[in-house]
């Protein structure tokens, strides 16, 4: 194993080029782990990359205050945990998550790894072009703005039943499009 303590020491007091080099070593050691770890929870590659990048930026900015007795790995978690948990909570409340999981369930194990939430969202966006404007409106209110059928009914001054019918129609169209996409 590389002696991490030494790296941290070198990071703290040396000239810029040396710091840069050793920071790069730390980056190579942990970046992919942090990214993949975060991705498991937030499901969106873009968000995971953002969190991982931010963490390393902060690590660089705070390199002078690092304590070589503590592991860099633990420190990286400490930096990233707040955004990680915030994003995870957000995703768990996201009504499209159910759709995402049930769709991803139909994929092969291989495709499952690369097919993240962003890709899914993009496909949904494409699919929603096949909806009528009204269906699209209802779909967005329900799945993106997270409103209930009742709230949508009041907002659009139509009956709840109409909302439910349109919604299930939209879902059918979108699911059809999704299943076409993987073929």
């Amino acid at each position: 194993m590389v002696d991490e303590k030494q790296i941290v020491k070198l990071l703290k007091k040396s000239d810029w080029e040396v710091q840069n080099k050793w920071f790069r070593v730390l980056f190579d050691m942990y970046y992919h782990d942090l990214l993949n770890f975060t991705l498991q929870y937030v499901k969106s590659r873009d968000t995971a990359e953002e969190i991982a990048h931010d963490s390393f930026v902060k690590l660089w900015l705070h390199k002078d205050n690092l304590d070589e007795k503590r592991s860099v790995k633990a420190y990286l978690f400490k930096i990233s945990k707040n955004s990680l948990i915030k994003e995870m909570r957000r995703q768990l409340k996201n009504p499209l998550m159910t759709e995402y999981f049930s769709f991803i369930d139909t994929l092969s194990t291989e495709a499952r790894i690369t097919y993240d939430y962003d890709t899914f969202l993009k496909t949904i966006k494409e699919a929603s072009e096949y909806l009528t404007p009204r269906q699209k409106e209802i779909f967005i209110l329900c799945k993106e703005k997270n409103l209930s059928a009742k709230e949508i009914a009041i907002k659009l001054s139509i009956s709840e039943q109409v909302v439910r019918n349109q919604l299930s129609k939209s879902l059918r169209i979108i699911r059809e499009h999704l299943s076409n996409c993987i073929r």
Binding site: H32, M88, L92, K155
Partner: protein, 312 residues
């Protein structure tokens, strides 16, 4: 909860389980989540074991390199080559992706493109260009309405493509109107020169000319426009000079992204007027006085009803 969380992580969670997990997480304080996640992170090791060994070798190599100047040079070249390779790869990846800028149902947006071209996008409009914009050619796709001020570059023609039509320009100022739900598309030129190709027809515009295309027939009409009226688009003003009320209402719909329904009004009546920095309600109020109507704005819909018992 951990079991559910593991299923969630592995993307193998059923809808009802997801709901359960969601409500569990919601009632779990951050501190507890930190502990759970930290434990997971602590034991998290993907391909990292192998990575560390590679890094160890790398470290030794670096020390040898410090001792040997020639090796440094070699390493540097190698590094540069890898970096160069990486960055060209990245460029290629980027070049395949498109940028898309869209405006909401209301309001306008000022944008600048990488070559210094600026544009004002009106409501419900979007433009799209690839990441290699400006490298070989300057090409954008658009729908809706946009007002362009193109940076001059005689080698790289700037082109706008809208459904059924291509517009080629050099440094110029012009306006494109191409909403998918409108019967007509319009291109107006303020400065410079511009040519349009639509199917096999080609038209060249000079300043203060505009071309109107009837989408259903493909018929193109070239007209001269009044400076005041069309230039007003760029100044935020709305100017109507002897326009049927129907067109006035259409313009309001496009500008404010609302749907207007009216009853009992003579829509062929002509209106002349000017609004500086108009707000929807102000315009409606003024028109209401003219044409004696009441209006109601609800959920982005405007309902206009003629006042009863009076006539103009």
């Amino acid at each position: 909860m951990k079991e559910l969380l593991n299923k969630y992580k592995a993307n193998k969670i059923r809808p009802e389980e997801l709901e359960e997990l969601s409500s569990m997480i919601e009632s779990t304080p951050d501190d507890t989540l930190y502990d759970i996640l930290f434990e997971d992170w602590d034991s998290f090791a993907s391909e990292s074991e192998n990575n560390h060994k590679v890094k160890e070798n790398l470290k030794k190599k670096i020390f040898i390199a410090i001792a040997c100047a020639a090796a440094i040079l070699l390493a540097l070249t190698l590094y540069l080559q890898i970096r160069l390779h990486e960055s060209t790869n990245r460029l290629d990846v980027l070049a395949d992706s498109d940028y898309r800028i869209s405006t909401e149902d209301t309001g306008t947006m000022d944008i600048s493109l990488p070559d210094g071209t600026t544009a004002k996008l009106f409501a419900k409009s979007s433009i799209q260009y690839s990441a290699d914009y400006g490298q070989n050619k300057r090409m954008i796709k658009m729908t809706g309405e946009g007002n362009f001020d193109v940076a001059h570059n005689s080698e790289k023609t700037f082109s706008v493509s809208i459904p059924g039509m291509e517009i080629y320009v050099h440094g110029t100022k012009f306006n494109v109107y191409a909403y998918p739900d409108d019967e007509i598309s319009e291109v107006s030129l303020y400065q410079g020169s511009l040519s349009i190709s639509c199917g096999n027809q080609k038209i060249r515009l000079s300043p203060n000319q505009k071309v109107i295309v009837q989408k259903s027939t493909g018929k193109m009409t070239l007209t001269h426009f009044d400076d005041e009226e069309d230039m007003s688009l760029r100044k935020h003003k709305m100017v109507f000079i002897h326009k049927p009320l129907l067109q006035v209402l259409d313009a309001l719909q496009a500008r404010f992204g609302v749907k207007i329904t009216s009853s009992g009004l003579d829509l062929s009546d002509f209106y002349t007027g000017e609004f500086r920095e108009p707000e929807l309600e102000d315009v409606l109020a003024v028109l209401g006085v003219h044409y004696l109507f009441d209006y109601e704005i609800k959920n982005g819909e405007v309902i206009i009803t003629k006042k009863a018992g009076k006539s103009k």
